[in-house]
Subunit: 103 residues, 2 copies
């Protein structure tokens, strides 16, 4: 991934109690996203307090818009608001620099 | 936070074993970052597998550069490479859109 490319920063707070299929849906969404044009990758972490961050990477804004409107993904978004999330925030950001350390 | 503003996406994989003061240093870095000019906020999540994501938010690139060069932060970066991280990646990204859901 050589900049510039795009990141979707999704920060969320999960509801407590029954998962209502959350894990299965999350895995299915990752699989579907990876099949979308312009998909570059995804990283996710969720702590024990229910606060989570998922960052997905995309070639451009058009790829993000297409994924946002994908039919199964729209269904997951609705289900997320109804069942899984207390709150979330989505940020669309243009990655300008990218550097790494490896042991 | 009204876009545009900047995000630093820090994804990392922690070493196993002794924390060697990792938690205390992380808390101290959050405290120091919050005192920097142009700081807007920070969010972090780390899963049980050691994979973590921290996103800090800044007014502009100059604020990020100043924080990167802050003396105590430089010391923490060096300590992180020597002890705490197997690998990490830093991405500097310009947030262009931002929307939220709240239950």
């Amino acid at each position: 991934m050589e900049p510039p490319y795009y990141a979707v920063i999704f920060t969320s707070s999960r509801t407590e109690g029954d998962d209502l299929g959350y894990g299965a849906m999350a895995a299915e969404m990752e699989r579907l996203a990876a099949a979308q044009p312009g998909y570059l990758g995804i990283e996710a972490a969720r702590g024990g307090d229910g606060a989570g961050i998922t960052v997905s990477y995309w070639r451009d804004v058009d790829a993000i818009t297409a994924w946002k409107r994908q039919v199964d993904h729209l269904d997951a978004q609705r289900h997320g608001r109804e069942h899984w999330y207390v709150r979330y925030r989505v940020r669309i950001a243009r990655v300008e620099r990218d550097y790494a350390f490896e042991r």
